[in-house]
């Protein structure tokens, strides 16, 4: 069951203060059901505080939380029976094996069928080491076990805090595939992360927080389309003419010089429309000798959260896809 409009998780004006510091300052989230939702923000933006509130570990000073269409307040712990969570570092009894840890964890909260333990161990790739004590596990293995623990109750809503921490590349790919498959099966996956590239390839919807507030939320493709940049290289002595030609088509704020000496210009448009730029310049007898295009979550993130790097200047070498003409 989800809320109105298929919303799996929502917060309304969520507030949490630590002394005079506002960790959450009216946070409004709206997480659609059946998606991977990337929850992004710089350090101290309120991501972990949000995760703690959503899992009942701390209580907000104001605002409302809805989980799977139902209000979640102090005393509504049963709502969490349909939620799986990995909050901060995975927590286990070091002297017990992975299997025993899951068995004892399953004794709390919602009842779990015994066979489910083997299923999640298999899903996490830990079957071979299931009977080893957790104290001998690497960080990555503990992380896998943490994800297995979050999946124990076959939850409708999965809350994961930095799930890729400590995972090797194969583990990251496997986790990503698992989370996408869960979302495809109708479950909702809420992933808090600072790994923007990972979120970019995994998330359907993103929410970006800064200073305890939501600064942008929406389908990733839509956000990135607005954030696209096309870089064009023309003869250096044609830069002014190119700006003049493109200025008739694009607002001035979308058009900037990147490197006049090398003849680079940047146009902030959807990269799918880069061909139009080339045609426009060719019609004015200005020929493009180089072109790069890309969309980048990192750029959007830095812009929205007040990071130092700014779009065009940091385009080359960023992790977004790029094509050279």
């Amino acid at each position: 069951m989800t809320g109105n409009g298929g919303i799996a998780l929502a917060t309304h004006g969520l507030r949490k203060n630590y002394g005079s510091r506002h960790a959450l300052d009216g946070l409004d989230l709206s997480v659609p059901a059946g998606v991977v939702y990337g929850f992004l923000g710089p350090n101290g933006a309120g991501k972990t505080t949000t995760m703690r509130v959503l899992t009942g570990l701390i209580h907000p000073d104001g605002g409302k939380v809805e989980i799977l269409g139902q209000p979640f307040k102090r005393g509504d712990r049963h709502r969490l029976f349909r939620v799986g969570a990995l909050v901060e570092s995975p927590s286990f009894y070091p002297y017990l094996s992975a299997r025993s840890n899951l068995r004892e964890l399953a004794a709390s909260g919602a009842p779990v069928p015994a066979k489910r333990i083997d299923e999640v161990l298999d899903l996490a790739g830990l079957t071979d080491r299931a009977n080893d004590k957790v104290q001998g596990y690497s960080l990555g293995m503990k992380q896998r076990l943490g994800i297995a623990a979050a999946l124990l109750s076959d939850p409708d809503l999965l809350l994961l805090d930095e799930p890729a921490n400590g995972l090797d590349p194969a583990g990251i790919v496997a986790m990503r595939d698992t989370l996408k498959a869960l979302a495809a099966s109708g479950k909702t996956v809420f992933v808090s992360s600072h790994l923007l590239a990972e979120i970019q390839v995994m998330a359907d919807v993103v929410g970006i927080v800064a200073s305890g507030k939501l600064v942008r939320e929406g389908p990733l493709k839509e956000l990135l389309a607005l954030q696209g940049v096309v870089k064009i290289r023309v003869q250096p002595d044609k830069v002014d003419a190119a700006i003049s030609t493109l200025g008739a088509e694009f607002p001035a704020e979308r058009l900037t010089e990147s490197d006049r000496d090398e003849g680079w210009l940047s146009v902030r448009i959807d990269p799918d429309k880069s061909e139009a730029i080339s045609q426009k310049l060719a019609a004015a007898s200005i020929f493009v000798s180089g072109m790069e295009s890309g969309t980048d979550l990192e750029m959007l993130f830095l812009e929205l959260t007040g990071g130092k790097a700014e779009g065009e200047g940091s385009f080359v070498g960023l992790s977004g896809k790029g094509t050279a003409a």
């Binding site: 570990l57 901060e88 009894y93 002297y95 004892e104 964890l105 124990l152």
Partner: protein, 279 residues
């Protein structure tokens, strides 16, 4: 019940459980057997007699039952305090309480049932230690050439179950105190440290504030185990809190044991319920 049995399984597999009971058993067996062997050696040398307390009472039945129980409830109380603190503190330190809460488990239920498991393990520890103590006393008696005829003293044996239950109750109260302190401190080490400080602090304060201290948790636990009014130093918990003339009567002390036990658990449960869980 699944949470309770889960708690028991966790404690049975936990090294701290066996270290705690192992230390208690090891010390008791060592002392009793050493006393038995020492008495025999002294007798052979023709020494002894100047001691205020005849060491043979440790290995002479039926009195040995009292001495063993005194040891188990005395030092065992301190061990229970440390054990309770270790169990409660680790739930916070390892983050396992966090995991259970995030699964929708009731904090109060989790806290109280965790302690119920601890109290069962304390009962097991008392029985095991007492049993080993009796065996050690029999061995010690043989080493000291003391008769074990009193081993089957029916009057003592009839009283034994009730006294073991009372002893368990007193030790559980001390365990609850450690459990509550570590819950407030959210740490094993802090819980153990503060628990030990309370234990010795109360013992030290007995010298200066006997009228106050007699109501405090370790003193009432000890006083609740006194079997007869005439016995002022022998049948209580012993150690720092040997019942003195200032101690509360056993029945009244048992009431205070219950108050401290319930109080400690209420504090632990209330704090766990209201606490903000981070880390």
């Amino acid at each position: 019940m699944r949470l309770f049995f889960s708690g028991l399984r966790k404690l049975v597999r936990r090294p701290a459980t066996w270290v705690t009971v192992g230390v208690l058993i090891g010390l008791l067996a060592l002392i009793i057997i050493a006393v038995g062997a020492g008495v025999n050696a002294r007798t052979a040398r023709g020494g002894g007699g100047a001691s205020a307390v005849d060491p043979k009472i440790l290995v002479t039945f039926p009195g040995a039952y009292d001495r063993i129980l005194q040891f188990v409830t005395g030092l065992g109380g301190l061990m229970a305090l440390l054990y309770g603190a270790a169990i409660a503190g680790s739930e916070w330190g390892w983050g396992t309480l966090k995991s259970a809460v995030a699964r929708g488990e009731s904090r109060i239920r989790y806290t109280l049932i965790s302690f119920a498991s601890v109290s069962v393990m304390i009962a097991f520890g008392i029985l095991l230690t007492f049993g080993v103590g009796v065996i050690a006393a029999i061995v010690g008696a043989h080493l000291a050439n003391v008769s074990t005829a009193g081993l089957s003293d029916s009057s003592t044996l009839n009283d034994l179950p009730l006294r073991l239950i009372k002893g368990w109750f007193a030790v559980v109260e001390e365990g609850a105190l450690g459990f509550a302190i570590a819950t407030l401190a959210r740490s094993q080490l802090a819980g153990i440290g503060v628990g030990i400080a309370f234990y010795f602090g109360e013992g030290f304060a007995t010298l200066f504030l006997p009228d106050v201290v007699k109501y405090l948790p370790f003193s009432v636990a000890n006083a609740s185990l006194v079997t007869t009014p005439a016995t002022t130093t022998g049948a209580g918990g012993g150690g720092l809190f040997s019942a003195t003339g200032n101690a509360l009567p056993a029945d009244q002390a048992a009431l205070f044991v219950a108050v401290w036990l319930i109080g400690a658990l209420v504090v632990a449960a209330f704090f766990a319920d209201r606490a903000e869980i981070a880390g």
